[in-house]
């Protein structure tokens, strides 16, 4: 298994390289640059800034320099936030996004899996319809509707939770609900589908025939197999959720990573965009690997 993991990690290097190259080319192909503003810079000042950030060099040279810096874990200075570096921006944003993302993920799993399994075990009965109605609602209500509504009721009309900002755990309640609800609904639907399928399979029939209790059949035998599709969904979803959400961050005033993707692109902050894209790429690779390793543990048929 170790050699499998190593092989996968080595294989990820070209992938990330292509990702980086594509991001570099696309950012540079976009019209306008980091120093374009409604108050235009005097030509000499612009030239000096471009020299300072090496934008006056030929593109291939800039690319080479960038790859060299990346190899030394240096994402470079931010073009937009002049007083700081991309490393510092990611280091300050990621812990917040991680906390928020992990909590939303936990919320989605803790409520989504039992809800889905309940629906599966009571298939085509009121409990099923109820659970799936909740799931449908969760999927269809966009978080940019849910979030302001929660703020209005829980923070403005009532003094139960803070309306935004970063403080204690209370500040995380609404963002977690806003971010986790849709995912919870999705997980519930996946859990329902896979549980229904698993419950019809031969080994479950065998387990039942052996006279095992219903609880044991469901929790010990059916659950691990039913989790497999959820796990494969979780890999990329987790990478996505812990790199932040621009909508949630903007509405609740949370300093996560998500805003950097959008602000970076709008400001033509080349280094910041490349930094967060690469960071996201690395997370995707890592989570996909973790998922594949988890398969082996959940499903005895999988071997490396």
């Amino acid at each position: 298994m170790l050699s499998y993991a190593l092989r996968r990690l080595l294989g990820a290097i070209p992938t990330l390289f292509i990702l980086l190259t594509l991001a570099f080319v696309m950012m540079r192909a976009a019209p306008g640059g980091p120093f374009d503003a409604d108050r235009e810079l005097p030509p000499q000042v612009r030239a000096n800034l471009e020299a300072k950030y090496h934008l006056d060099e030929p593109l291939y040279q800039q690319y080479g320099r960038y790859i060299w810096d990346i190899a030394h874990f240096d994402f470079g200075p931010s073009f937009q936030y002049r007083d700081t570096s991309v490393n510092d921006l990611i280091a300050s944003g990621f812990p917040v996004s991680l906390k928020l993302g992990a909590a939303s993920l936990a919320f989605a799993l803790i409520f989504g899996i039992p809800l889905g399994m309940l629906a599966a075990l009571r298939q085509n009965r009121p409990a099923d319809y109820g659970a799936m109605a909740i799931a449908m609602l969760g999927i269809s209500i966009p978080n940019f509707v849910l979030a302001p509504l929660m703020i209005l009721v829980l923070a403005v009309y009532n003094d139960w939770l803070p309306a935004g900002g970063l403080g204690g755990w209370q500040n995380y309640v609404m963002p977690v609900l806003a971010l986790g609800t849709a995912m919870m609904a999705y997980v519930a639907r996946l859990a329902r589908g896979s549980t229904i399928e698993v419950m019809r399979s031969n080994y479950i029939r065998t387990a039942r025939a052996k006279g095992l209790s219903a609880t044991r059949v469901v929790w010990v035998h059916a659950l691990p197999a039913a989790l497999t599709p959820i796990v494969s969904f979780l890999g990329p979803a987790a990478a996505g959720i812990i790199t932040g959400s621009v909508v949630i961050e903007t509405i609740f005033g949370i300093p996560g990573l998500g805003q950097f993707f959008v602000q970076g692109a709008l400001n033509r902050d080349y280094t910041l965009v490349m930094g967060v894209v690469l960071f996201y790429g690395i997370l995707i690779v890592a989570f996909n690997l973790a998922v594949d390793l988890l398969y082996g543990w959940l499903d005895p048929r999988v071997s490396y």
Binding site: A30, P31, G32, G33, D36, A37, D38, R39, E40, L41, P42, P43, Q44, V45, A47, N48, L49, K52, P77, Q80, Y81, R82, D83, T84, L89, S92, G93, I134, L137, I141, L146, P148, L149, M150, I151, L152, V153, A155, V156, Y157, D159, P162, A163, G164, G165, L166, L177, T181, E249, T250, I251, F252, G253, I254, P255, G256, Q259, L266, N267, R268
Partner: protein, 535 residues
């Protein structure tokens, strides 16, 4: 279920009946007060010479103190300089600095610090977007252009407490530029030791009423009172927090929930509700800003076509745009200089007072004179940067041009940076929208933009007559004679119509009742030190 419950609660509380606003100031255990300000976007830099945005300027005004400052009502008053003398030619300013000036680390602040900082502000290596604000100082233009070293700047420390600044010609608005962040002093040892990171907490040494406490991008900038500040005895608020909140509705929610004492933006859709429930907390202040359409005079159809440009300008009913689209009490613009600019009653379009029918008839007449008719309509494109407001205004203007003149108008929106690039290049733009915000309270900050040599003029307008008048008034003593020249310059500009002013901006703030000392000023220059919190 959560959603349904929320929906029921939200809908059952009738908006017109209920608009709760929590009104409890934050007071710390030691009795000192905290001012929580919404601040729009995240400042791009807190280096006074690099900063370019309003949110950055708001924070810098608390962190630093310049030679002069803007009083709550907008007047220029002494700050680091307790007095100054001007020679008879109005070219040499000698500032007498206060004896007790100190940096936040206790080190004395001297005239040498100002010399270093002013040189740094125009040094092309600094990359300052506002370097041109110092263009009046001897050799500044040559330094910005990289032709002379920064040491050549006409700035000299006569002694520890006296600073001499020499101008190339009398400049009536010069003192106003000294209140701008480009003129703040920076602490040389920190700049040299930390480079770009000198503004970060721990590194930052400042000389204003507050010092840097913490800075988390996209979350909050916190400042603490600076006991070394020369006027600390008159400072009341102990701590200032700036929150970058780009979403206007979020800012309003946080204001209502008691998490902000001052919200810098108001969602237009809620303006009526706010006016009804908390009129005393709403402050609408006309500012030095104009929303305008530029016409690219380097290309057809606007090249050599002043009649056409006038006709298009005339065909726009500004009142309708302000009343129906922007709806924020903006002022319709029938001239180029905002009416709040001090000491100048602007010129107006000669047709500004005509009735709608007369105005439209005149526009049609000019349109015909320019060679267009129903059979040969003008085909023109309006370009604007993406944004709901810009889109609505462009649609309405297109409709007015169509119905009044019969022009064929197409709309094109572009993302901000793409748009700026297009306007700068000017190779395929026709009519485009932009805005201009004044840097100091003098008409020149608007006049200068349209000078062909200023470099920020995307219309390509180049009138020798206008340039001459603009340059003349910029270096005349501030007397009635200057007023005449300015009016002439504005009249030339309005007749040539390379720009179509649409409306003048009005800033809107929500400020809690317990925050005292706020007065509106057209520069939007507010210092937290001038405020107090009295529950």
């Amino acid at each position: 279920m959560l959603f349904v419950a929320l929906l029921i609660t939200a809908c059952s509380s009738d908006e017109s009946e209920k608009f709760p606003v929590k009104s409890t100031p934050e007071i710390r255990e030691d009795g000192s007060t905290v001012l929580r300000r919404g601040n729009g976007a995240e400042p791009e830099s807190l280096d006074p010479h690099q900063a370019r945005s309003v949110p950055a300027a708001n924070v810098l005004r608390d962190l630093y103190s310049g030679l002069v400052q803007i009083s709550p009502s907008g007047a220029i008053k002494p700050a680091d300089a307790e007095s100054w003398e001007v020679d008879d030619d109005e070219r040499v300013y000698t500032f007498k600095l206060r004896d007790d000036l100190r940096w936040s680390n206790g080190e004395p602040l001297t005239a040498q610090d100002y010399v270093y900082s002013l040189r740094r502000s125009v040094d092309p290596a600094t990359g300052s977007p506002y370097a041109q604000l110092h263009a009046a100082i001897v050799n500044a233009k040559a330094i910005i252009a990289g032709e002379k070293p920064p040491q050549a700047l006409g700035v000299r420390a006569v002694d520890e407490h006296r600073l001499e600044i020499t101008l190339t010609a009398p400049t009536p608005y010069f003192l106003g530029t000294l209140a701008h962040s480009i003129s703040y002093p920076v602490y040389r040892p920190a700049v040299e030791e930390y480079g770009a990171a000198f503004s970060q907490p721990g590194n930052a040494v400042t000389n204003g009423a507050y010092r840097m406490e913490s800075w988390r991008v996209n979350s909050m900038i916190a400042l603490e009172r600076n006991p070394e500040y020369w006027d600390d005895a008159n400072t009341s608020i102990g701590r200032v927090e700036f929150y970058p909140i780009t979403n206007q509705n979020s800012a309003l929610s946080r204001y209502q929930a008691g998490e902000l004492d001052w919200a810098t933006t108001v969602p237009i859709s809620r303006l009526e509700t706010i006016k009804k429930h908390i009129p005393a907390q709403l402050h609408a202040e006309p500012t030095l800003g104009v929303y305008y359409y530029g016409l690219n005079v380097k290309r057809p159809p606007f090249k050599d076509a002043p009649e056409l440009r006038q006709a298009l300008s005339m065909a726009i009913d500004r009142r309708t745009i302000v009343d129906k689209i922007t709806r924020g009490d903006e002022i319709p613009a029938h001239g180029w200089i905002p009416p709040v600019v001090e000491g100048y009653a602007g010129a107006q379009f000669d047709w500004a007072k005509l009735s709608t029918a007369q105005r439209e008839a005149k526009a049609q007449e000019l349109y015909k004179k320019a060679g267009y008719s129903q059979d040969k309509p003008l085909k023109v494109e309006i370009r604007y940067n993406s944004g709901e407001g810009n889109k609505k205004i462009a649609s309405v203007i297109a409709a007015m041009w169509r119905s009044v003149l019969g022009a064929e108008v197409s709309l094109r929106n572009e993302e901000w940076k793409v748009f700026l690039d297009s306007v700068r290049q000017g190779t395929d733009t026709e009519a485009y929208r932009l805005a201009w915000i004044g840097d100091y309270n003098d008409p020149n900050t608007f006049f200068e933009l349209m000078n062909s040599k200023f470099g920020l003029n995307g219309t390509g307008y180049a009138s020798a007559e206008y340039d001459r008048l603009q340059e003349k008034q910029a270096h005349m003593p501030d007397e009635p004679e200057r007023m005449k020249v300015m009016k002439k310059a504005e009249a030339v500009l309005l007749a040539d119509s390379p720009i179509i002013p649409i409306y003048f901006y009005v800033s809107k703030y929500l400020i809690k009742d317990y925050v005292k000392g706020f007065e509106g000023n057209p520069l939007d220059s507010y210092y937290s030190k001038d405020l107090s919190i009295e529950p």
